[in-house]
């Protein structure tokens, strides 16, 4: 199954998204979080991102969801460090909502393409009904 990595500037935020999405992902979906700098400040740690990507690597691939800003640069550096074989994609989707939909999709044994597409649907998610 596709794995998910949650990257945020805040360690709490990333861990919370993992907790929230793990509740609906089956046991088969590996979800990890990499938030904050190595010394616990707000920021991103390329080392921890890379370690997490190695740990949840799956033949089906990994989708990475990020908060914003430099998180993308950090993830891109980590992916490059893993080498050309790494099957990893960064999502442009909203972090929480995208991770939620991606978790549901991955749990249904969807491909990396399908999981990435599901995450992007989060942009149109309607929360408030009238």
């Amino acid at each position: 199954m596709v794995s998910l990595l949650i990257v945020s500037h805040s360690a709490q935020l990333a861990a919370g998204v993992r907790e929230f999405t793990s509740q609906v992902a089956g046991a088969g979906v590996q979800i990890m979080d990499a938030g904050g700098t190595d010394d616990g400040a707000l920021g991103t740690s390329i080392g921890r991102i890379q370690q997490a990507l190695e740990q949840i690597a799956s033949p089906d691939g990994t989708l990475v969801l990020v908060d914003l800003g430099s998180a993308v640069l950090s993830v891109e550096m980590a992916i490059e460090a893993l080498g050309a074989d790494a099957k990893v994609r960064i999502s442009d989707a909203p972090l929480v909502e995208g991770a939620y939909l991606a978790a549901l999709e991955a749990a249904a044994e969807a491909s990396l393409d399908e999981t990435a597409a599901a995450a992007l649907q989060a942009r149109e998610m309607v929360k408030i009904h009238s």
Binding site: D39, G43, T44, S45, I46, S74, E76
Partner: protein, 213 residues
């Protein structure tokens, strides 16, 4: 002009000191258009670089610069980490196995560094980033090289161009990086990354000025 690995190390140490000196100013510049951490990020990175430097002090210039870059990448924690990190790594790759440099090699390494920043951050000139300070400085060095100007003089003009580029970010609208989320409100503030780039350029000039032409 003989630019040695020792000069390169002196330059790095100088940058670390200059950044520490301007830490709070870089934080303050990052407040209105960012997240108030650029000074903290850069100081965190270069403090670790200082710890690492002794382990590569006897190595070639390429190795020294790559080590600096990799340290920045893994410790800075903000956009400036991957950006300056890639810059130093690319410069190091351009100078692999070299223990002494000509001015032309310095300019080539700076060009490689800028290309690295652009490849990483996907920004062009005019987007209110460090590129707006760095690129004009490299333009001057390339011109000067073509016209045969001496390197000390070229460096002085180059740093003046970097300073002008830094100030030119004030009226710019940010379209990359965190400041871009502010839209029109990013106008009227000097870019912190352009400012740290200017301080690095200053230290580079001072290092070069300490070497006989």
């Amino acid at each position: 002009m003989r630019i040695t690995a020792e000069h390169v190390i002196k330059f790095i140490e100088g940058v670390a000191a200059r950044i520490k000196e301007h830490r709070d100013e870089l934080v303050q510049l990052d407040q209105p258009i960012g997240d108030s951490d650029h000074g903290v990020n850069m100081d965190r990175g270069f403090t670790t670089v200082l710890d690492k430097l002794p382990t590569v002090a006897d190595k070639d210039i390429g190795t020294i610069l790559k080590t600096v870059g990799m340290t920045l990448v893994s410790t800075v924690g903000g956009a400036s980490g991957p950006l300056y990190g890639t810059a130093f790594i690319r410069a190091g790759m351009a100078l692999a196995d070299r223990y002494e440099l000509t001015p032309a090699e310095v300019v080539a390494a700076l060009e490689a560094a800028l290309e690295g920043i652009q490849a990483r951050g996907k920004a062009q000139r005019g987007e209110k980033t460090m590129i707006d300070a760095i690129a004009p400085g490299i333009d001057v060095l390339k011109e000067a090289q073509a016209s045969g100007e001496d390197f000390h003089a070229a460096m002085r003009r180059s740093v003046a161009a970097v300073e002008a580029g830094m100030k030119a970010t004030i009226p710019m609208l940010a379209t990359k990086g965190r400041a871009s989320y502010l839209g029109q409100r990013s106008i009227g503030h000097q870019d912190p990354g352009a400012t740290s780039a200017f301080y690095m350029a200053q230290v580079m000039l001072e290092t070069i000025e300490g070497i006989e032409e």
